[in-house]
């Protein structure tokens, strides 16, 4: 068996970005030690030393060497644990890889910030953000249809890069459903995504590491209060 080195993951149970790394490691069958941070309340010295630039989780420590930024870590994992028997996370073909990266970047730059924004926003702004989220989900529903090569996932028969990027925010989506009285992944509006989300949550690499709904819902309320308090305390824009 190839020597895989010592793998540690500095993370936090509720973080969708940390979840991405856990799923990737699970797909590759790589055992790792999970180091839990007490965010947002404190940051360990190890975290501050391992990610001095951003001071954020996740950080993968491979034989003590830190890799930061969730999608960069996922690509790293895919490249290091790449032998014949292991499932690939990114597709082989450069064009398909570009499509996966494009949508992953869309999720991180547009979809997720809009979703997160609805937490601290009020009324009109919240409505506008929600519309953005719905339109983003529409684009992804469409993309699923276009990318589809058979199988339950964007990646085909097994979970791939885009599945990981989007699937990591499913737990939070369910929390928003509860908080806003909507159903984001409504099967009448987004049948492909609704079916996909069930398959993702049930998948072996995901099942054990998906945050529990009630715990996440409670925690989300704590974060929302902090966001609202920060907004109220912030100086008005000049």
């Amino acid at each position: 068996m190839e020597k895989q080195g010592e793998v540690k993951l500095i993370g936090m149970w509720s973080s969708p970005f940390v979840l991405r790394v856990k799923v990737a490691l699970n797909i590759k069958g790589v055992p790792y030690e999970s180091l839990e941070e007490q965010l947002p309340f404190s940051k360990s010295q190890l975290l501050l030393d391992s990610n001095p630039v951003h001071k954020k989780v996740p950080v993968l420590l491979h034989d003590g060497k830190p890799v930061c930024e969730s999608l960069i870590i996922v690509e790293y994992i895919d490249e290091v644990w790449a032998s014949a028997g292991l499932p690939a996370i990114l597709p082989r073909d450069p064009y398909e890889r570009a499509v996966a990266r494009f949508w992953a970047s869309y999720i991180d730059e547009k979809l997720f910030p809009a979703m997160r924004g609805t937490m601290a926003a009020e009324d009109e702004q919240r409505k506008a953000l929600l519309e953005q989220v719905m339109s983003g989900l529409g684009l992804l529903e469409d993309a699923f249809g276009k990318c589809w090569k058979g199988g339950k996932f964007f990646g085909g028969e097994t979970i791939g890069f885009l599945d990981i990027a989007l699937g990591s925010i499913l737990a939070l989506m369910k929390v928003f459903d509860g908080a806003m009285g909507v159903k984001l992944l409504d099967e009448t509006k987004f049948p492909k995504l609704a079916a996909w989300s069930e398959a993702f949550c049930e998948a072996e690499p995901v099942k054990e590491v998906m945050p529990e709904h009630e715990r996440l819902a409670e925690f989300a309320m704590v974060i929302r209060e902090r966001m609202r308090a920060a907004k109220a305390a912030a100086p008005p824009p000049s």
Partner: protein, 220 residues
């Protein structure tokens, strides 16, 4: 005869310029299509329905939007003359710094450009802070990738050209020998690379373009 690779672009866009630089580095032949951003072509709207922006690379009819995605695509579709290192850890580090340049330095550059007075002073401080962090990634090397330029150099490559234009416009100094010696040296070294120089837009034209942008930001 039409080439297999097409680039939809806009002459003043830093995002487009860096794709041109990467294509030039790899020696890839392509047809360049200048877009009128006030009247976008059908091809652009169809190729990038999500953002409707340049650059878009079209390779054998398949569109790839988003400059960072395009750069990785170019690297993988034309693997000779690599822009990224072979070692996975070094690749992760290169991607990290490319992302830092893109997600921190670029927005602070935009903030510096679009603000005035007190706000601009604050924006300049933030920009210089981010550039100091980026400078750390040079680690005494000539380029971010070592002796020759690579992905991080190309991604951060808008800095040497556009920061100098802004400095000229505002009569200001952001990156100099005094405060950012290594980055200052890298500015010169990067701009002197032939495959970069060949793809830079004319400086005076860019200054005029920036002046126009500033004017359009003025409240009516």
């Amino acid at each position: 005869m039409a080439k297999e690779v097409k680039l939809l672009g806009f002459w003043a866009s830093a995002y487009v310029v860096r794709v041109q630089i990467a294509l030039n580095f790899k020696g890839i032949e392509y047809d360049y299509v200048e877009e009128d951003l006030k009247k976008k072509s059908e091809l652009l709207l169809q190729s990038n329905p999500v953002y409707r922006q340049v650059p878009v690379l079209v390779h054998a009819g398949k569109p790839i939007p988003e400059s960072m995605v395009i750069l990785e695509y170019i690297e993988e579709a034309w693997p000779e003359k690599p822009l990224l290192p072979q070692d996975p850890y070094q690749r992760a580090m290169a991607r990290f710094w490319a992302r830092f340049a893109e997600e921190k330095c670029l927005p602070s550059g935009v903030k510096y450009f679009t603000t005035k007075g007190e706000d601009q002073l604050k924006a300049k401080e933030e920009l210089v802070e981010n550039l100091k962090i980026l400078e750390g990634a040079l680690q005494g090397k000539k380029f971010f990738a070592g002796e020759t330029a690579g992905m991080v150099d190309i991604v951060a490559g808008w800095l040497p050209f556009w920061i100098r234009r802004m400095e000229g416009l505002f009569g200001d100094k952001v990156v100099e020998e005094d405060n950012l010696p290594h980055l200052n040296a890298w500015f010169q070294d990067y701009l002197s690379l032939p495959f970069v120089r060949e793809k830079l837009p004319p400086p005076e034209k860019v200054c005029a373009d920036l002046r126009g942008l500033l004017a359009s930001l003025e409240p009516n």
